[in-house]
């Protein structure tokens, strides 16, 4: 009975080490940093708004394993990302690359801003020209009449 209790206590004490098994600390901090960086840049395809680093899905687990294996096999970061893109497409990049296909998405907002700005400037210029024209149309005489009418209106 006592032994059983002792074993139970031992199990409790050592439980955290057993639990920590999945996230084994990697020996080399440089590799650890690369692993974390890569896993955070790749999307988990199963739970699309999470990175492979964040996700608990089985697929993310497999892909983490894959990244780790490839780091140890001496692959460069670009090679590992390319490996994923070849299999899962560009969507796997959490941070999309700038290339010919999506260039418009990158610079589109700036183009819209530029076009919008130009239209605004033109519009303001036209309005200004119109209002100064309007001033010219009204003669001195009309001005005085208008003033008169306004003042009379005020007396009523």
């Amino acid at each position: 009975m006592k032994i059983k209790a002792l074993l139970f206590v031992c199990a409790l004490i050592f439980a955290p080490w057993v639990m920590a098994d999945e996230a084994k600390p990697l020996e080399d901090p440089e590799i650890k940093e690369r692993f974390k960086h890569l896993a955070s840049e790749l999307r988990c395809l199963k739970c699309q708004n999470q990175t492979i680093w964040d996700s608990k899905a089985g697929l993310a687990d497999d892909l983490r394993k894959q990244i780790r294996t490839q780091i140890y096999a001496g692959k460069s970061d670009d090679e590992i990302v390319q490996f994923m893109v070849d299999r899962y497409g560009d969507f796997v990049r959490y941070k999309p690359a700038v290339d010919a296909k999506n260039l418009f998405l990158w610079i589109g907002p700036f183009i819209f801003m530029l076009v919008g700005g130009l239209i605004l400037v033109r519009y303001i210029k036209i309005r200004r020209a119109q209002s100064s024209e309007a001033e010219d149309i009204i003669s001195e005489e009309d001005h005085l009449r208008a003033k008169e009418i306004l003042e009379q209106g005020g007396d009523k």
Binding site: K46, L59, Q66, R87, G89, D90
Partner: protein, 177 residues
């Protein structure tokens, strides 16, 4: 002049955006285009589910149009497409092979025993590494591979009768020429 052009520009931009929304909002974000379309099917050697001593490689299928269905006994959606595959297997027009993805052999064999086995052969991808090579991100997935061993189409999720009749079967017939 700009007074006349401006409304036209606004209407055109609006129409284009509506067009994108009309198309875009109907897409299922869970269904991703495969990066492997029109690329050669990745090579692999896997033991067959029913006979571990025999292996299978897609090379053997050169000259045939065939389906590779990714399935697992733990996959609930696989059950819904299974009767269709059984029917297709009985018709026997196209060879269907199974990639048994991240499954336990006894479970997989039990599953086939219970529901029937539409596959000419299934291969065990215990670690899911072949799955990664094929860009599998959810089960079931079905690949259509042509005579040259090139992946021509990928269906994500269970294949419905409609998918089969409207999309996959015509493609297979076309490839069979």
């Amino acid at each position: 002049m700009s007074r006349r052009i401006l409304p036209i520009v606004v209407v055109v931009v609006f129409a284009v955006m509506m067009g994108f929304f009309y198309k875009g909002l109907q897409l299922d974000p869970q269904k991703l285009p495969s990066a492997l379309i029109d690329k050669p099917a990745p090579a692999f050697h896997l033991p067959q589910l029913h006979d571990v001593s025999k292996s299978f490689s897609p090379e053997e299928m050169k000259g045939k149009v065939w389906l590779l269905n990714v399935w697992a006994s733990w996959c609930a959606a696989c059950r819904s497409e299974h009767p269709l595959f059984m029917q297709l297997a009985r018709k026997g027009d196209f060879p269907i092979y199974g990639l048994n993805y991240k499954d336990q052999r006894p479970d997989a064999m039990q599953w086939l025993k219970q529901l029937g086995d539409p596959y000419i052969a299934s291969f065990s991808d215990l670690e899911g590494n072949v799955g990664i090579d094929f860009g599998v991100y959810g089960v079931p997935e079905t690949f259509l591979i042509d005579k040259q061993g090139v992946i021509r189409y990928k269906h994500v999720g269970p294949v419905s009768r409609k998918d089969w009749i409207e999309v996959i079967e015509p493609k297979m017939k076309e490839l069979n020429g």
